[in-house]
Symmetry: C2
Subunit: 466 residues, 2 copies
């Protein structure tokens, strides 16, 4: 691959498309545009373009296509695998100003948004209207475009599924600049190959999402959580398949250990409601009334106690509910605050293999000499594990990180799992996807990439590309 | 495209792969193998192969690839658009003997099946185990391979979604004979392009499904239906968005008119529980107890009455429940029995446009001079409309059919709808997909086809191919 070197003439041409110097950044580009949240890979763009309309995205893309300039899309930059880092410099397409909620359709229960709308804005908007967008990743300041691009899942996947399940229609600008509409405000579709789902989770390698029609649900009126201490983590996790197979499907089943809870307490300066155990399950139920939810969780509380739980604490006040979930929401930042630098893996394994996977992390930690912390979605097998630098040198950290990740990803594959449950592959995990995935599978992905992007100008070096 | 003419040598070669003359049919091939359920397109295969294992599918496919012979996969042949008709003759791969349920995984709530397992067999098996596979197309003798290949939806899509939402993993034999595994027993996945969803709904054009891991749910213990007569169909359908936006999401919302009900009564020789109106909504609720379901449907019954319903009949006995759904299940056969020949459209439109679409059918019927009957899934906008030959000549029927379909598909597109909600495009609807879909979209589909099947030997002339 070789791309045209970006020059002042190109800058002038982009200014002809977007006639606003505040939206075409060239001379002074903030450092943040060169990396994402985790920052393990960094590369500055030549220019940052901040479109407000699909037409602007299309015109910029067409210019880049005609002139062979690499283009990388970026939302809020909250990613953890470098998917929005412009490895070949070129144009960074920052869609954060495309932040309008375009429509609420009551009859079809959909909302139409531009890609830069934040998850927290969708949350506020739907709540105001008595509606509900179930995907619930921890990072509420992420854009919906980013969530769709990684097929983010979050905590409510046990009951409701992931982002993919709530995208009815996408408008996408192809590398050629052509604008494509995929899907529709329809519930069923058997009309040709499913290109919409190909875009979802493609991490900006096939097209730039410029509009999305999201499926909404009527909002449940009430949420109640159960905090369940267990003597051991193994007992806690062994109980999860029984919970999920019961009549009453919780919206979330999280596991957490005391050390991560203590980090969160310190980070928030607030006490967690319980300290009696080293291991907890956190279950959440929703419904239309307290009575309805009680009928759901009561047999599950009994089931937990029969499976060895020490107690079942019901969050029957909003205060307690908030304190538990605030702690849960702070885990990532709390762990980050406890060390000098870190990287993460977000493997997903079958629910039945969560214990095997969780038990393997301390083994790796000991073998490699790398402090690791883990928490995550026991109900859906998606485990977030953090590898901490502490006082290691950068070189030593990188070395041990590579060794630890190789062990973890191969173990996940052995257990029928995959590299990423929701954070994506981006740049940082490409080698591990290649190591654990069949060559035939990778070749098909490359063939599809070639079909969408024959010049390979869109987000090169990401996900599956050599 | 030109394919090798199939000879006796090829037959002998296939017998070397599958050493069983009962599973390689050459001299005497039943007429049924040349068409599907509707039979509007017909073409006999040169040979029928009936594999029992993935290895056999792979070896046959590799032979076909090396020798440039067209291959078409077939399940139970219950399709309605000619997707399993071997237009270029060649090899028909009948997977109906791959009919084993391979595993029930209680911890992950999945079952693993071969593609030839029938929907009714999955229903019986899951019921025995207190589990539930929600996709519920009317045709229970269809194979799961066929259901996945068309992304069939059925009646429960309002609450549970479609087949796509319940496929965790697929094993697929590519045109080259290579075997690929996509997805896994995992709930979340953000590990590269979503090839699994590309296979789902691809109607056998990209690969042959040889194994599927299906997501199951705990079975609801109780089902109750509401039969709701309205003065007019328009009032009935206008009520649907209000029902779906309420707190209590029904599993199904069907609409039906008296003339179709009368056809069904005659076909079944049994009376329908109500005759007071020309138009009905049929709602179905599920849950774990009668009390729970009552709490759900009671506000909906009130809502229907406020919206003009004449009555709300609760199917509080199994007998009444059976009589209603038996009638609903017989609609297709009953209409078929009322005429000499027919064809169908299964357009899907946004829920808000169902009335517009339904009101258009009598206009088309009158304009073209073709009797039409319609029923379907009001809750998900998927309308099944039948165009009846009666005493028209074959030539005249074909002529009017083409005119009527063109009008209907263009109207659907105008309303934001798509050609097919669940029956697929196959051979019969290709022209209409091409007419109503963007060229860029079609070109991408063709490019993907080329990546998977560079020799175009797998199910040629189907869906999007020229």
């Amino acid at each position: 691959m070789s791309y045209k070197a970006f020059t002042n003439d190109d800058y002038q041409a982009l200014l002809n498309i977007i006639d606003d110097k505040d939206r075409v950044l060239y001379d002074e580009i903030q450092e943040e545009y060169g990396h994402d949240e985790l920052g393990s890979v960094s590369c500055p763009p030549d220019v940052v373009v901040r479109p407000k309309t699909t037409a602007e995205v299309s015109d910029v893309m067409k210019y880049a296509y005609d002139n062979n300039i690499a283009v990388t899309a970026r939302g809020a930059g909250t990613g953890l695998v470098g998917a929005c880092v412009p490895i070949e410099h070129g144009i960074l397409m920052d869609v954060s100003l495309m932040n309008q909620i375009l429509e609420l359709d009551d009859d079809n229960l959909t909302m139409t948004v531009q890609p830069g709308v934040l998850l927290m804005e969708i949350g506020d908007f739907t709540e105001e209207h008595g509606l509900f967008f179930p995907p619930d990743p921890g990072e509420k300041s992420a854009t919906i475009g980013g969530n769709i691009s990684t097929n983010a899942g979050g905590m409510r996947a046990v009951k409701y599924g992931v982002t993919r399940d709530f995208v009815r229609e996408l408008e996408v600008v192809l590398p050629s600049g052509k604008v494509l509409t995929l899907g529709g405000k329809v519930v069923k579709n058997s009309s040709g190959l499913d290109l919409k789902d190909l875009i979802i989770g493609s991490e900006g390698t096939l097209g730039i999402i410029t509009k999305a029609v999201l499926k909404l649900l009527p909002a449940p009126k009430k949420v109640i959580s159960l905090l369940v201490p267990f003597p051991t983590l193994r007992q806690a996790i062994d109980t999860v398949p029984k919970i999920v197979a019961s009549e009453s499907v919780p919206i979330a089943v999280e596991f957490m250990e005391k050390d991560v809870i203590l980090d969160a307490e310190e980070y928030l300066g607030k006490k967690f409601p319980d300290h009696q155990s080293d291991a907890y399950l956190l279950l959440r139920y929703d419904g239309n009334s307290t009575e309805e939810i009680e009928a759901e969780y009561e047999p599950i509380a009994d089931l937990c106690l029969e499976s060895g739980a020490l107690d079942v604490l019901i969050s029957d006040t909003q205060e307690r509910e908030d304190s538990i979930w605030k702690a849960r929401g702070a885990f990532l930042e709390a762990i980050k605050g406890s060390t000098t630098d870190m990287d993460e893996v977000d493997t997903v394994v079958p629910r039945s293999q969560v214990n095997e996977m969780v038990a393997y992390f301390p083994e790796v930690s000991k073998k490699i000499g790398l402090r690791m912390k883990c928490f995550g979605h026991a109900g859906d097998g998606n485990l977030h594990t953090y590898m901490l630098k502490d006082d290691l040198s950068s070189e030593e950290f990188q070395l041990r990180l590579g060794q630890a990740m190789t062990l973890v990803y191969h173990k996940a594959a052995e257990l029928g799992g995959l590299v990423s449950g929701e954070h994506g592959i981006g740049y940082a995990k490409r080698a591990y996807l290649e190591e654990t995935m069949d060559d035939v599978n990778l070749e098909l992905m490359q063939g599809i990439k070639q079909t969408f992007d024959p010049k390979n100008i869109l987000n090169p070096h990401k996900v599956f590309q050599s």
